[in-house]
Symmetry: C2
Subunit: 198 residues, 2 copies
Amino acid sequence: MAEHPTSQARRPANRGPKAAAGNRAALVAAAREIYAVHGLDAPLSMIARRAGVGQGVLYRHFPDRDAVAAAILEENVREIEQAAAVEGATLAGVLGVLTWHQVRSAAFIGLLHAEGARGRAPGAARELADRVGRTLRGCLPAGGRAGAPDARDDLMLAVAMVSGAVSGGATHEERERRALAAWRLLGITVGPVRPFEG
Amino acid sequence: MAEHPTSQARRPANRGPKAAAGNRAALVAAAREIYAVHGLDAPLSMIARRAGVGQGVLYRHFPDRDAVAAAILEENVREIEQAAAVEGATLAGVLGVLTWHQVRSAAFIGLLHAEGARGRAPGAARELADRVGRTLRGCLPAGGRAGAPDARDDLMLAVAMVSGAVSGGATHEERERRALAAWRLLGITVGPVRPFEG
C-alpha cells in the first residue's frame, strides 16, 4: 500500500465521463497509499494529486472524508471476498488477509465491531460487516468441525477478540505480533498476514 | 452502582478539611452511580449534589472531568486488587470482577489497552494497567498450569481479547453475553460477573 505513484497517477487530469469508474478506482487506490503513509489527516488534495485527477473530480466521487473512508473499507471487504473466491481458498488464508487489514486499519476494526452492535451501527457499516461474516462462514467446512459445533456463530466473535488484541499494539509490528498470538490462543490457524493480490 | 443516594449523600455540605478524604470517597462513589445511570455526559453538578457537597468541594478534588474519570478507574482497579486479596481468592473469581468492569465501562476497556501500548499510553494509565496485570498474574498457581506454559504472558492479551468481544455489544446484557462467550472460546473459567463487595 505504501508504493510510489503508479502509472495511474500519471494519466491526464481529465479523462471525461467514460473514465469515471477508472477515476474512482484510482482515487481509492491513491487514498489507501496516502493514508498508509501520512495517516488519516492527510489533505484530500494530496489524494487527488496522487490519483492524477483534479480536486473537482475527487469531490464529484467523494463529497467528504467519510465518503473516502467508506470507499476504502468497501475495498478492504472486497479483497477479503476475492481472497475467499480464489480456487482452493482456505479459511486460514482468508483470515491472513483479514488480519492484514486489522493490523493496518483502525477504521476496519471499528467496522468489524459493527457486526456485534447491530442495533447501533449505521446500515452501511452493518452491511459490510455482514459481508465479512458471510465470507468467513463460507470458508468453513460444511457441517462444522468435530469439537467446534459453534464455529459458525463464534467466528465473528473471534475476529472481534483479535481486534481487541490488535488495538493494544503501538506499531504495525506489535499489532501483527499480538494478532498472531491472539489467533494462537483461540486455536485458530491463520495463513500469512498479507494483502490480497488478485 | 445504580443505587439510590447513600447515607453519604445526606451528610452536611461542608465537613471541613479533616473530612477531605471522606468527601473524595463520596464524590467517587457518587460519580460512579451518576455515570452508570446518566452516562459520561452527566453534569458535574449532579455528582456534587449526589455526594452531598458543594461544587467548590468537587472542583477542589477534581479540577475537570478527566480527573473524575481517572479516580473512578483507580477505584475499579482497587476493587480488582481487593477481590484478589480476599482469603481463598481464585483467578476465576477475580476475572468475574474484572469482567463486570469491562461490561460496564468503556473507559476501563481503554485502560486495559494501555497495557499493550506501553510507548503510547500516558504514565498514569500504564501504571493502572500494570497493576491489573500484576494482580491477575498473582492469582495464577505458582509454576503455571500444565498445557499453559505461556499463561503469564498471555493473560493480559486474553483480557484485551475479551475487551474486543465486549466492545461489539450494544447493551449491558449483550456485552456480558459476549464477554462470557469470549472467555469460553479462550478456555478460561470465569466466576460470577459482579462487582467486588468487600
